[in-house]
Symmetry: C2
Subunit: 180 residues, 2 copies
């Protein structure tokens, strides 16, 4: 997936490379969709770990700007793992078939990190809106990241999508009472 990207990914090629036949792959994962769900859930785990790492590391560089670290982590993971990151959003399961429970849980981890950090930066009075606001800010950053990677920004002459995203996020946090 990392090499070929979502469009050119194929179960047959996977089988070839791991030295098994397609049949075995299907006995284990059941369908193409479930194989991709497994891959994408792994990506979510890696991504969450990447964010935590970004928050923990370099405490001298940026003493306390954990919000900027989150946005930066979101972008850099997508940038350094383009194909597997895009695969998350390229894949859509057939309507009606819901995400398996255990997978959904692992995927929620990423949002939880953001909710936690957003809550920490908000004043007590507005802290209860943290979950909703956090999701909205993730969407904001996601939009910027998507356009940065698919070329929409470059096409329009934008050179620093990360800075843009960070600015938008901080504006919204300040509007909610955060002192940054």
């Amino acid at each position: 997936m990392a090499e070929a990207g979502f469009a050119k990914f194929s179960s047959r090629e996977v089988a070839k490379r791991i030295g098994y036949s397609v049949g075995t792959l299907y006995n284990i994962f059941g369908s193409y969709d479930r194989l991709i769900i497994a891959i994408n859930t792994r990506t979510f785990r890696l991504w969450a770990a990447w964010l935590e790492e970004g928050l923990a590391g370099n405490p001298q560089d940026r003493p306390q700007d954990r919000i900027a670290a989150l946005v930066e982590g979101y972008f850099s993971f997508a940038q350094e793992n383009t194909h597997i990151w895009m695969a998350i959003y390229d894949h859509r399961l057939p309507p009606g078939i819901p995400m398996p429970q255990d997978y959904a849980g692992q995927r929620a981890g990423l949002t939880e990190i953001v909710v936690r950090e957003v809550a920490a930066v908000l004043p007590c009075e507005t802290r209860d809106i943290a979950p909703r606001l956090a999701r909205s800010l993730v969407a904001t950053v996601h939009g910027h990241c998507t356009f940065a990677l698919n070329g929409s920004f470059a096409l329009l002459g934008e050179t620093d999508p990360l800075e843009m995203a960070t600015a938008r996020v901080k504006e919204s946090l300040r509007a909610a009472g955060a002192k940054l």
Copy 2:
């Protein structure tokens, strides 16, 4: 494309429905990618017209909130034309092959509308940042719209992504000096 969606769309099925053979389709469009580019560029045109319509219509309902009308138009188009809207972002041309010039021009129309409206709402002092800010706000709305349609928001209990997106946009515009 509207019926089947990007993943299940196929040139052979198109040929069947229009009463031609695949070969003819390939003589005209040259490749699958260019057929999809044609479809998606049409979608961009429809989308831009939809936005202009939303701005022109109902001047009594919302006297002058043109920014809200833009966000609403972005969302409602995506919601009422899910498949063709998603196809825009599902399709990625092979690396190295650039978007044909004439198509790129038609696609830029959408951004121009937003730049114009953002500039109109900014005070003279900050009007020069309108193009950059407009692109950033489009990214913000896009992120919210994506999560609304792919279920990410619903999964997390969010019920009103449109309101969220509008709030984020207005916060950023106010931060840039707009009086709303």
